[in-house]
Amino acid sequence: MVQEPPSNLVTALNTVYTLWLREMIRFRRSKSRIIGSLATPMFFLIILGSAFNSSFEMRGGGQTDISFLAPGIIGMSILFSSLTGGVSIIWDREFGFLKEILIAPVPRFFVALGKAMGGVTTAMIQGTLIMLIAVFGLGIEYRSLLGIAASVGVMLLIGLGFIGLGIALASMIESHEGFQMIMTFITMPVLLLSGAFFKIGDLPSWLKTLVYLDPLTYGIMALRYTLIGETEIPITICIAVITIFAMATIGMGGYLFQKTKA
């Protein structure tokens, strides 16, 4: 008797769960990676935050201090870890494991989705840890518990958006040399243009246009709104933009992953 593959829905859920589980096992096992991924944002937050507190006086009387910076740093950490998570498909290809996934009798779209869910979970854990450290270690005051809960949802949307982008890029770029290119030419502009470190109201118009084109801007505004109750863009627009961005990149990532080569 020939074995039939199980039904579509069961396979789909099972595939997502299996790939998610793999990311979780790997994450749990790499303690140094967890510490490393927290260190960079903490340096930013502590050093840059202290500098902001002492030396910045915004024109028009607005104040940027460490609590203004914290949501931006959380967004930065989500950006780094989700993009890296998506692009890690390049490493799976390099070390052969991608073949094991591609030969399995499961739909590839859900493989990509499982990979995305795994990467997003790790990104959210890191984001949440930074958020908590900011409260208990640095004494930043958030507006409410509800806001904190909502911010985790925002992290999910930001994470999905950039992991989808990472998967899409990794599916097209087949050499690991491409990895460094992506990190340099996407991560840095996206981060610096996002308003993670500054208010966007007083920027020159050419810069403002670029800031508005950066999807991370809306993510960080949403984080700032949920955590400290400040935003320069209406929260509904922020949520709409990051939701659409997440759906678009996950769709694109899943589509391109189906066509990728082992």
């Binding site: 099972n14 793999r22 096992i25 790997r26 052969g96 591609l102 030969i103 499961v106």
Partner: protein, 333 residues
Amino acid sequence: MNSTAIETFNLTRKFENLTAVDNISITVEQGELFGLLGPNGAGKTTLINMLSTMIPPTNGRAEVWGIDVVKQSSKVRQNIGVVFQGTTLDDRLTGLENLDLHGRLYGMSKNIRKQRIHEVMELVELGDKADVIVKTYSGGMMRRLEIARGLMHHPRVLFLDEPTLGLDPQTRNHIWDYIRRLNQEENVTIMLTTHYMEEADHLCDRIAIIDHGRIAALDTPENLKDALGGDVIILSAEDDEKASELCKLYKTNGSTGNVAVKNSSVYITIKDGTHQIPHILTIASRAGINIQSVDLHRPTLDDVFLANTGRAIREEESSDVDRITFKLQSRRR
């Protein structure tokens, strides 16, 4: 019930200007241990990649267990196991975790996974290494784990692409034992590729010699060797020129054997070889060709390969080992 495991119909795959697999039509019976023997670039891996649904054919079609590899690729995948040439394990996971994830992807329930992991790990004698991170495994252990994983979901057909490439001879012998055992005990049909003559000779029920994308010969190892028609005489001359000259002279002296020239040696395949040597030496001395040594042996698959393709498979081997060594080194992140 049809007893065919794999059947290809004019299967062809082209890469830009290169025809990697050229009109291959073969049939593999259920339960068979079938070998594809050929040098690197002969098209073995491309053929396996098509049969395992990894790449589509350019022309022709193929069936695995009666299922079309293009039209019903997911059903084919459910029923095959593949051990690729390079490692495809997640080296940050333990052996057990690698197998468990595999079982999940093939829709196996928890209890069945647990039981089956135990069975296949015992089969390849890795039971005591199940909870060790794969990164610390030796090359041979990794290959065994991959074979165990390929078997885990009870595939009908197991594809092994160069299962012993880059392994030392002792480990290779071990892997051969496992392959033989699982062919018999698990009753799984196996198609393996190799460019090691001894491997094909020791393991396979039937061998297809593949060169430049075509099947040059296909039969049991014994029949292939017998078909050469007797013993192999190797006479080494001073250089290629002298060897060719001797080859020509030998042919024009009304001899019936199969003659080929390689590396300034003349290879003659003929019945009753011992009695032919004086005759050949006479021809040589009359023509003033200095023969440096004479060897006579029963034909091996090397000779079969040479007779069928006009070249030796050995010439390509060293570069291949270099490649693998490099790959293993660069693996270490």
